[in-house]
Amino acid sequence: MRKTIPGTTPFDGDMAQKGYALNKMCFSFNHQANRDAFVADPEAYMQQYGLNNEQAEAIRSKQVLALIAAGGNAYYLAKFAGIFGLDMQDIGAQQTGMTKEQFKAKLVAANHS
């Protein structure tokens, strides 16, 4: 068994199978009409894509760690986050339990590590 990297979920075949419906829904958000349809009725939209309970709950919560655990891939999830105007630093702060300012400071600190 290969050693794992803490705080990291490689998006492998298992995750790609698990997250297929969730990622397919997020991929659809490339189109404005689909983003509008989701915002108008999230439950109906999720049903249309066949999300399971774990995935639907993760979407409702907008918690990125839960979305990843449900099989979400960062690149497709970013399109979901975009609907709510969340940028990568918002998402980074949320996943690391920091404020956005703290997360930004952590990034800048990488200059001196």
Binding site: P6, N30, M88, F103
Partner: protein
Amino acid sequence: MAQLIGGLGTSHIPAIGGAIHKGLQQDPYWKPFFDGFPPIRAWLGETRPDVVVMFYNDHGLNFFLDKMPTFAVGAAPQYCNADEGWGIPTLPPFKGELDLSWHIINTLVDKEFDIVTCQEMLVDHACTLPLKLFWPEGDCPVTVVPVCINTVQFPLPKASRVYAMGKAVGEAIRSWDSNKKVAVIASGGLSHQLDGERAGFINKAFDLQFIDSLESNPEWATQFSIHEIVEKAGTQGVELLQWLAMRAALTAAAPKVRRVHSNYHIPISNTATAVMALEAV
């Protein structure tokens, strides 16, 4: 035969598109990144490539998980950008270079790289932003052959395989029956991680070592497994594979490269950024 003049590399963070759109190049946050480009643009102004081959990774604009190629080569007369879903401006289409596309395809398959060919292909920010960064004024003066390397779904191609593929692309460029000047571009990296509790991971020491290796020891990064690259550079830092392909292509052009210019800056968004130009000498 065509001339392979050198290679370029740049990060491709989506937010760069917004910064260009808003004219923020001199803004204190953005200036340290954009300041890396003028010396490279000056070199491009002197050398004037006609065509570029772009190693990049799609982020879910053209390819979904239904069909995910490891290596895909564009063979389209024109490449369009489109809405990527997160609010960055859509950039205008640019022209392909069909004759070189098919020469690369034929050469790669002959060398036993069983690639996917794309006569229609949307290209995302990873393909459009480098062109806008290197040639910011007016219409893009180069034609393009996009080569997409999967960094989305594991298993990713091994670093050594990417290197071999890049070298084969370089050999294809060198054997192209054309009097045109060609450059190769790497789009991506360097260290960054968007997902998980490890989000925000950046590894400056590794990045700087990688950049130096491109100049003098191009095969250095092929010693690492994909797992090790993710560990050292982050889940998205694995995009450094694009840089490895670019550098490998240059080995077909000349025994050595000269570093025209490079710049490294932390952070833009969640990413350690790099830009670089290497001249085949």
